[in-house]
């Protein structure tokens, strides 16, 4: 190297070659920094010609800042000391513009070490510098962008899962500062259970294998609270494909999850209300609906205590109608003033749901025993205008709980189902009353028809009965009249006027008696069956009536037997009792013809019994109740004439005396009628009782 002749030719030619290089400025400096040579590259890069720059100080290539800092001298001094200095820095062109230069300054020394100068090689790196700057700016923008993201945690993990970067979103979401977390394993973001299952490692494995892993799951914050996270984990590899780490983007979906859960909860509440509504439709029993409503609230809201409080009639107190967790039987009335201070009272007066707020409401009554926890109440509307509020339903959680709008709406819906059931019951009640009225009206119409029919029959029977004596009367009077017209001529052998007139008179007596009986019916109906009480011997009266009937009975083929005491003094209406006895005996003769008839009189304490027994056709059991009513006879009308009023009148006469008229009978064996009387008549049959029988 020392012998230039021995050097290869291309080395001898090197200075010329350097002279031609255009990409590098290659030039020599004197030890003091004076430019000693200049090549084409220097001319291109720096803009000076040989003549302009050789002999000038190289310091003119430096920026004013560098000059001020003594940079040129420092460079030469360092190169002199170290043999070589390389740097990248701004330099000036001849025209004053700057360029980014890669500069290498090498000291040239003699073999004895004397400094002879410096070789300076400068490359223009402006283009590269600009590209680098652009890249840096781009990276900076990315960093700024990531830093500005607050809703996403964006951070890097190294290949082992340690946190390598941390953005403000991550800090906000997870609660750690960058200083606290960088360098630590990302496993601390996972709940205990998932850690045990090896979840974090598994996620890294999947991301490494497939490039990406995404899931939603619970993650932990620094304070230990959980949040529902959407996590995307991406593997990051260098240009050779070597795994350099992972990018992790995490989003907090707790709110979204909560709203999803709220949707599910709302659906569950709506289903519960629908089921309750269906139950209410199928069960008319209000208490069953209320009990079901209480159960529905407890199961759906998860509250330990549920109560339905019903407003009392006077609107001043609430009564626990149904409940769970509350002792319904033991709870009494709860005085509630509708002043807006008692919670249930507030709900009643405002018609709006109330949340328990101990500062605002007191609970009132027995409910004060259940202080604490959280409560919500809703109004149950009444079924009609007179009762706007039925009461309130309340749900009470023993532990503090925030009842949201959904819970309040649900409770109100349950209250509305109860209100609908109330309204339905009210309408059914109205229908029932209307139907009842219709039934009563029909019954009344039927009674009126029956009364009209009875009246028609009465008129018909009365007319029939009156025509019979009238027939005899008319014929007798007409024969008498005809006889009188004929003068003295006697009508027929053995007949004369007088007996015929007597016969006519007898018919008028019959007629007046009939009319009297008809009037009796009217008197009884009007409650004016007055008694003329007098003291007399009833035994004597019975004997007299029996004597009167002995002959008719004998004609009917019946023997009349009488048993009884000699005398029985008492106070009664003589004519009326005679009427009763005549009726009973004439019936006995009529229906018991051909068989013995017995009368038996006896005294038992202060009462007297007169029994009339025949052995005739008797009365069927089914007919017994109606024989004492008007116009009734058990026997067929075409066989037995008569008004059918006898027993009806007799019964009322006996009852007017404070007695009873009873019958026992066996068909084909005969009947026994018993008159049971007090010794002294007690006017027992009041007008009202008799009047109640009036229908027509």
């Amino acid at each position: 190297m020392t012998d230039s002749q021995a050097r290869p030719a291309f080395l001898r030619d090197a200075p010329l070659a350097f002279q031609r290089i255009r990409e590098y400025a290659i030039f020599l400096l004197e030890p003091d920094g004076t430019v000693a040579s200049w090549n084409e590259g220097a001319q291109v890069i720096k803009g000076y010609s040989d003549a302009e720059i050789i002999g000038q100080s190289f310091s003119r290539f430096y920026t004013p800042e560098d000059l001020l800092a003594g940079k040129p001298a420092e460079i030469l001094s360092r190169a002199s000391r170290d043999g070589r200095v390389e740097e990248e820095a701004w330099r000036l062109r001849k025209d004053g513009s700057r360029f980014w230069a890669d500069v290498v300054v090498t000291a040239l020394r003699d073999p004895d070490g004397t400094l002879r100068g410096f070789v300076k090689i400068t490359r223009d790196l402006t283009a590269r510098k600009l590209a680098e700057k652009a890249l840096r700016q781009s990276e900076e923008r990315m960093r700024l962008m990531i830093d500005s993201v607050r809703d996403y945690a964006i951070f890097m993990l190294d290949p082992t899962g340690r946190v390598a970067s941390w953005n403000p979103g991550a800090e906000r979401l997870k609660g750690y500062t960058a200083r606290e977390i960088i360098g630590h394993s990302f496993e601390r973001f996972y709940p205990e259970q998932e850690l045990r299952a090896g979840k974090p490692r598994l996620e890294l494995e999947i991301a490494a294998r497939e490039g990406r892993f995404e899931e939603e799951g619970w993650r932990l914050r620094k304070d230990g609270s959980r949040f529902w996270a959407n996590v995307v984990l991406s593997a990051v590899r260098d240009e050779r494909g070597v795994l350099v780490g992972y990018a992790k983007v995490t989003r907090d979906l707790t709110e979204r999850k909560r709203s999803e859960e709220a949707v599910i909860e709302r659906a569950r509440q709506q289903a519960a209300v629908a089921q309750l509504g269906l139950f209410a439709l199928e069960h008319p029993d209000l208490d069953a609906v209320i009990d079901r409503a209480v159960t529905t609230v407890r199961e759906t809201m998860g509250t330990e205590l549920v109560g339905v409080l019903e407003l009392s009639e006077d609107g001043k107190s609430l009564v626990l109608r149904a409940g769970c967790g509350l002792d319904v039987a033991a709870m009494g009335r709860v005085p509630i003033e509708l002043d807006g201070v008692a919670e249930a009272g507030y709900t009643l007066s405002s018609a709006g749901p109330a949340h328990l707020d101990e500062r605002r409401f007191r609970m009132g009554g027995f409910l004060d025993a259940h202080r604490g926890g959280s409560r919500v109440t809703a109004l149950i509307r009444g079924s009609d205008r007179s009762r706007e509020a039925f009461g309130v339903i309340e749900a009470h959680s023993r532990t503090e709980r925030a009842f949201g709008e959904d819970a309040v709406n649900f409770l109100q819906s349950v209250a509305n189902v109860i209100a609908a059931a109330l309204e339905r019951r009210s309408m059914e009640e109205q229908i029932r009353i209307a139907e009842q009225k219709a039934v009563e009206e029909r019954a009344r119409a039927s009674q009126i028809r029956e009364a009209l029919r009875e009246r028609d029959e009465f008129i018909s029977v009365a007319a029939h009965e009156l025509r019979t004596p009238l027939t005899a009367l008319q014929l007798k009077l007409q024969t008498v009249e005809r006889g009188l017209k004929m003068g003295t001529q006697k009508p027929a052998a053995g007949s004369s006027v007088e007996p015929r007139l007597e016969g006519a008179l007898r018919q008028t007596e019959r007629l007046s008696l009939l009319v009297e009986r008809l009037l009796d019916v009217t008197r009884i109906a009007a409650g004016r069956l007055d008694l003329a009480l007098e003291t007399f011997d009833l035994a004597a009266l019975v004997r007299q009536v029996a004597d009167d009937f002995r002959e008719p009975a004998a004609r009917a083929g019946s023997e009349l037997r009488l048993e009884g005491p000699q005398a029985l003094q008492g106070c009664w209406d003589r004519l009326r009792l005679e009427q009763v006895l005549v009726n009973l005996l004439s019936n006995a003769v009529k229906y018991g013809a051909g068989r013995p008839i017995s009368m038996r009189v006896e005294r038992a304490g202060e009462r007297i019994r007169i029994a009339v027994t025949d052995q005739g056709i008797g009365i069927a059991q089914a007919d017994l109740p109606r024989i004492f009513t008007r116009f009734q006879r058990a026997a067929p009308l075409r066989n037995y004439g008569g008004l059918g009023l006898g027993l009806y009148i007799a019964k009322h006469i006996v009852e007017a005396h404070g007695g009873r008229l009873e019958v026992s009978s066996r068909p084909e064996h005969g009947s026994t009628f018993v008159v049971d009387l007090p010794i002294v008549a007690v006017r027992a049959a009041g007008p009202e009782q008799a009047a109640a029988r009036v229908r027509a």
């Binding site: 009965e465 025509r467 019979t468 004596p469 027939t471 009367l473 024969t479 027929a492 066989n639």
Partner: protein, 130 residues
Amino acid sequence: MMAGKCGKTVLVVEDDADVREAIAEVLSDCEYKPLHASNGAEALQRLRTAEVRPCVILLDVMMPTMDGWQFRAAQKSDPSVSDIPVVVLSAHANGSEAAAKMDAAAYLAKPVSLERLVTVVERFCGVEQG
């Protein structure tokens, strides 16, 4: 003036003794010969035992033991007496209907006038009234 053209027999079936007696008196006055029966059963007995067949039967409807309907049914079923005409005598409002159903020759509503009674009886006994 009343000539003795009667003398024929009339059966009076009537449960009311007063009415029966009054009718019999009227008939006797007109020189008929009344036979008495207080119910259907007695009437049948009279018909079967009478020496003279009555030329007409005055029949009440409602009577004990055997009523007018039963009597009429029995009479119709007995050829020896079935052709004797029956005049129904009733106080009932529906008496004329009953008479028609019983296939009676005539109907007299109670109370009946003497004149009408005599006219109807004469029609069946072929006796002219003077």
